[in-house]
Each structure stands twice: as C-alpha cells, then as structure tokens.
Symmetry: D3
Subunit: 162 residues, 6 copies
C-alpha cells in the first residue's frame, strides 16, 4: 500500500488516534490524515485548529501528512490515488455502523475503495474525543488520554471562554 487515508473529525485527536496513526504509518508508503469538515456537526475546535493539533502531535512521523476535506469520502479517495482507507476498531466501537459504511463505500466505486481495520490498543479502548471533552468540561483530569498539544489547546480554549 503506497497511500493510505485515515479520516475523522479529530476534535481533538486522542492518544487512541495517535497509536493508530503510528501503527498505520508503518504499513504504507504515505499516510494521509484527513480532517473532515463536517458541516452538520458542530465541532469544538475549528478545522484549522484540529489540523494544527495533529501536526504538532506527530513531529516524529515522517511519512504522515495532514490534509482537510469535505464531500464524499469515496470521491476523495478516487481523486487522490488512495489505495486503502484505515479505520480503528474497538470492542466498544459501533462495529455494525463501520460495516455499513465500508460496504457503502465499496458499492459507490465498484469496490475500488478498500477499507482496512486496525484494532485500538486495549488501554485506549474507552477513550474518545467526546468523552475527553465531557470530562474536561467537568474539570476532570485528561492527562495521558490526549497528546500534549491537544491538552494545551483545551486549556487555552478554556481560558479564552472564561
């Protein structure tokens, strides 16, 4: 696999995402991290902030590039010579939903888009961007759950809003 895409909202990136990025980057020539501009869902960080936090979290990874996109995943993949899309799976994932999306993507371009799944490391299986934000909003400690740049960004945002 030369070019692989890992897409998501990353609002913000967690250590679970980071672990998946590190492992995926070893399996391919180049890994694209696609930050989704989701118009129908309000994000906590802007798309620019979300991208910058990721960039700041992966200085040690040479074959990873952060991009942004909107529109149909299948279209993006088709236009950018992506060999496969990678997704994280955890016991607590909505596995059924993942299957439904992968089948839809396969259908949209006559099986041209392959989806490969990697398992989230067990120690991050309970971590998600939503639960991190919820705990942080209630003054809970989220160190060790997200990369340092994400933690810094959460704290800055908090200071501004107060």
């Amino acid at each position: 696999m030369r070019r692989v895409l890992y897409a998501g909202s990353f609002d913000p990136i967690t250590n679970g995402h980071l672990d998946l990025i590190e492992r995926s980057s070893k399996l391919c020539g180049q890994l694209l991290i696609g930050v989704i501009q989701n118009v129908s869902k309000n994000s906590f960080f802007t798309m620019e902030e979300r991208s910058q936090i990721i960039i700041d979290s992966i200085p040690h990874l040479k074959n990873v590039e952060v991009i942004t996109f909107d529109g149909l995943l299948a279209d993006f993949v088709n236009k950018n010579n992506i060999d496969a899309v990678v997704r994280g799976l955890r016991a607590t994932t909505d596995f059924e939903l993942e299957i439904q999306m992968a089948q839809m993507n396969a259908r949209l371009y006559r099986n041209a888009v392959e989806t490969i799944f990697l398992m989230t490391a067990p120690q991050y299986s309970f971590v998600s961007s939503s639960i991190v934000k919820e705990v942080f909003a209630l003054n809970g400690d989220v160190e060790g759950l997200i990369p340092q740049p994400a933690l810094d960004a959460l704290r800055r945002k908090n200071t501004v809003n107060t």
Copy 2:
C-alpha cells in the same frame, strides 16, 4: 394472516424496503404500508410525497395498500384489525431496540399485537434511507439502492432547491 402492517418513515423508500414489501405481501392476504407522520423528526419528503413514491414503486403488487397514520402503533393495529406487524431485521439493525419496541407493543394490548421479523436480503444490508440521502447530498451515485420513483423525486427536490 389476513392483514399485516409494515410501518416506517420511508423517507424515501429503499430497495431494501421494497424487497421486504414484496416478500411480506406473499405471506398474507393484504399488506398495509403505514407511512408514519413523525412530528418529532424532520423528514426530507412530506408525508404525501413519501406515500406517492411508494405507490409509484409498487404497481406490480396487487394486495398492498399505502396508508398514513400518526399516534400509537398499537392503537392503529387494534382499530384496524391487523393480525401482525412486520419488521425488517438486518445484521446491522439495532436488534436490541427492535426487541424493546416489540415487547412494549405486546405489553400495551395484552399480547394482541404480534410482531414478526423478516431478514433483509444481504445485498441491501447496508442501505438505509439516511445513508442514501447523505450520499446523494454529496453527489454520490445511489442508482440501484432505491426504486426509480424515489430517485426521480430526489432529483426533482434537488433541482427545486438549487
């Protein structure tokens, strides 16, 4: 079973729904398709549009009638001499939710309402009204996923809104 009800939002009807309607209609004297007027959920098509699209999609089925209703499913069933309610099941269905609803319905009328489940054909297991609308909105190709009248209606709606 003389009269069976198949209820849903059908916003719009998909080929998965259509397959279920064709199969259910062979199992009973008359199949009612109940288009739900769901006040709490915004629909893309009006109730009238949704009904008409179904009617246009089933000219080949003689013992099927399209009706609309609001209120409690159990009440409707009780007043209209329905022998059973049919529901589609797929591996990617929220199976647990289906069970909860069927048990509630059974409870509401002292087991008078029987719910029977049919399995969605595997080739339609990833198709839902929501995913079809989402893909269409992003200019993806949804031919083969919904009946022709639904496809025409989506395109008309699109032209009007542009």
Copy 3:
C-alpha cells in the same frame, strides 16, 4: 400463510417453545412442529419421546401437527409446501447465527424459503432445553419452565437411570 414449519430439537420442549407455538398457530392455517433427528448431537430423549411430549403438551391447539424429519430443512420445506419457517428470537439468542442460517436457506432454493422470526416472551428469555436439563440434573426445581408432560418425562427418566 397456510402451512408454517417450526423446527427444533425440543429435547425437551420448554414453556418458551410452547408460547411460540401458541402464538405462531394463530398466524397460519396449519403449524407443523418438526422434531429434528440430529445424528451428530446426542439427545437426552429419543425422537419418539420428544415428539410425544410435545403432543401431550398441546391438546388445546387444533391446527398444530407434530412431525419428525432429518436431512436439509430447505428440502423438507420444498417438498411439503411450507410457506414459511418460524424461528424464536430472544435477546440472548445467537442472533448472528440465525441470520446466517436464514440466508443460507434463502440461497439454497432461490428465496423460496421464507424465514419469519417471533420474539420469545421476556419471562422465558433465559429458558433453554439445555439449561433446564442441567438444573434438573443438579436437583434444581424446573417447575414452571417446561410443560407438565416434559416434567413428568424428566422424572421418569431419572427414576429409570437411578
């Protein structure tokens, strides 16, 4: 639906099975209960005993007939003009396995065999033939979990074996 088949090992019939039989019998002209001769699985009761226990448990049901069969379910259905096969579903069923079997059956005869699912009543959701036999073997009380004829048969078998 004129003729419907409900097949199983019934080793022995439980009150969960009985509830399903009563409800299914209201949905069709005739309900066949197919006692499976399973060569690869040792049964506690012989096929004749299992059939007789069922017959003794349903004197109040007029349109139900008990038969025995081996071979492929799909073959039996095809030769005997069965309109549909009924299966019980419970939250604790192996739902995935049910889907796999139903799809295989659909495939074997070009969709001629329809499988319909009914939900087990919640109060019987934890009852299975295996768990009943296991509890009985350890001298636990299984009254109310199986019909009286099944209880009598278990006790007779127990006396003989002692």
Copy 4:
C-alpha cells in the same frame, strides 16, 4: 459496602429502576440515589420533581436517600465516601457504552471508583423512561410500568399543559 451510589436522570423513575433500588439497598449499608442535573439534555420533569417522585415511591425503604448533583460522577464519589457505583444492565442496554463509562471512571481516580452492575429483571427489560413518556404522550397505557407517584405526576403535567 457501606455507601453505594445509584445515579441517573430518573425522568421519571420506572419500575425497572425501583426493582434495582430495592435489590441494591439490600447489598449495602446506605444507598444514595443521585438525580443528575443534566444541563445538556432537556428533562420532562424538573430535578425537584424527579427527586420528589422517587421519594414518594420508596417509603418502604429505610436505608435509601435521594440526593441531587451535577459535575463529574467520579468527583462526587470521591468527596462523599462512596464505596461503589451501581448500574443496571439489561440485554437491551448499550452494554458497550456502560463498559466505556466504567473504565473512564476507574481511570479518573486511579481505580478508586468501583462500578458494580446488577441485571434488570426480565419483565422490565423493555421499560425505559423515554419509551414510557413516548407511549404516554400518545395516550397509551403505562400503568404497571412506573410507580404510582410517577403516574400521578405524568397525569398532572398533562392536565396543566392542556
């Protein structure tokens, strides 16, 4: 276990909740029922109403106290000498979500917060506050699903709103 917490929205309390409260109260010295002030979710009853309905439903339980709280569950537990948090599990629960939350809570205070799960009685497995309100809103009969004080409160609310 001396002090155990059972937290939830209880909007309103159901007979499934009540069953769990009765059983939990036998396992510990004191059971706290924590009514959550959830700012992000609109509740049907106010926090005061929800608390009062619970108090009116448990006159027979001596070691149960109703309190209200907002903020992080883990913080509340820490400050109030809670030995364990109890949660209800049902086959139709989002089991995965429960695990995720329990692991997050364990992580937040270095495993100081133990979560114990009890199973909902099968006859209440389909009952939830949401489904009760939905059925009531459509004039369905919810007697036997919620305690009498909750039923009275629903009816009063209804009269006021009409």
Copy 5:
C-alpha cells in the same frame, strides 16, 4: 455484603481473575472463591491443584477463602449464607450467556441469589485460562498473564509430561 462468592473453573487462575478477586474483596466482609468441580469438562489441573494455585497467589488477601464445590450454584449459595455472587464482565465476555445464567439463578430461589458484575480491567480483557494454556502449549510466553504460582505449576506439569 458480608459474604460474597466468586465461582469458576480457574484452570488456572489468571491475572484477570486475580484483579477481580482483589477488587471484590474490598467490597465485602468475606470473599469465597469457589473452585468448581466440573464433571462434564476435562480440566488441565486437578481441583486440588487449581485450589492450591489460587491459595498461593493470594497471601496478601486476608478476607478471602478458597473452597471447592459441585452441584447447583444456587444450592450452594442458599446453604452457605451467601449475600451475592460476583462475576467478571469484559467486552469480550459472552454477555448474553451471563444474563441467562443470572436470570436462571434468580428464578431458582425466588430472587434470593443476587448476581453482581464487575468489569475486567482493560489490560486483561484478552486473557482467559484457555488462551493462556493454548499459548503455553505452543511455547509462547505467558509471563505477566497469570500469577507466578500458576506459571510454576504450568512448567512443572510440562516437565512431568515430557
């Protein structure tokens, strides 16, 4: 809870079991570990060996006692004044089976037997006695997955059999 039972085959005890024992022992006056004499299932270690390995693994726990038993769990609980039975849950547990067993136990003694579930720590979620034995048999490294006394016992057994 004064007396709580944690029953299993423990063939042999794993670090996942040990974690559950440590946490359960904090929630009650006395924790009984019940090693099941399972006649229908061949065990790798004898019941005496399995008990001794557990005893050797918990010198630091003062309120834990190891016992052996056969027969019906519900009977044992009834005769020995057990307040509750504790079970481990993991995302990879057969959750449905757990519910079925707990409901059966509740039924057998008119709800006198309460089952409480604790979640397995995520780092042990993939560990089971079977998988440990399988890996060990293939010369894989199982250090850190089972307590030292279990590891020693596996190695002794191996030497004897060679």
Copy 6:
C-alpha cells in the same frame, strides 16, 4: 506492506475466502496463505488436500503463495518477516473473539505483529466452510459458494466414501 499472512483452516476454501485473498493480494507485495495444521480439530480434508485446493483456485494470482504451518501464529510471523496478518470480518463473525486473538498476538511480541481486518463481501457473509460441508452432506447445492476445485474435491471425497 511487503509480506502479509492470511491464515486459516480452509477446510475447504470458500468464495468468501477467495474474495478476501484477491483483495488482500492487491494491498501488499506478497500474500502468504497459511494453511493451519490444527491437531486438536479434525479436518475433513488433509492439510495437503486443503493446500492443493487453494493452489488450484488461484492460478490468476501471481503474488500469492500457499504454505502450511503449525505452532504459534506469532512465532511464524516473527521468523518469516511478516509485516501484518490479515483477517476477514463479517457481521456474523465472532468479532469479540477476533479482538481477543489480535490483542493476544500483539502482546506476545511486544506489538510486533499487526493484525489488519478486511470486511467480507455481503454476498458471502453467510458462507463458512462448516455450513458448506453441512449442506453438502445433506445433498444440498453448494455451487457458487466455493471455488470449482473445492467442489470437485468434495464430490471426489463423497464418491470414495460411498
């Protein structure tokens, strides 16, 4: 990914396996198909037969090699410079078991063994080697479910045994 391993019993290979092999072979330099010599499980075909059937089924694939192995998967991977192990996932897979195995493999060699999952095509989601053999044994039609060489082998075996 240069070298990827796809291991299984393949007793015999199905069209679901074949689809996965074709798709995996596009994602890597070389795909090894590892036929497992499973001593604890009786196989219908010998290891040699199972290997030959696969070889006969993939003349069109140039970068695929069939090998056999016993012992620990993690050991094999380690000694043979395998970059990743590929596994098929279907809605009807035992997903939990897959996660458990992948986590165990990751643990055995300090995360050196990466497992990647691909989804089975929906039209093969109900096909497994076991169900194919079961249907064939009952004289059911399995054409289209397994490659021609597997079908031929089943028929030869059948003739010999009669």
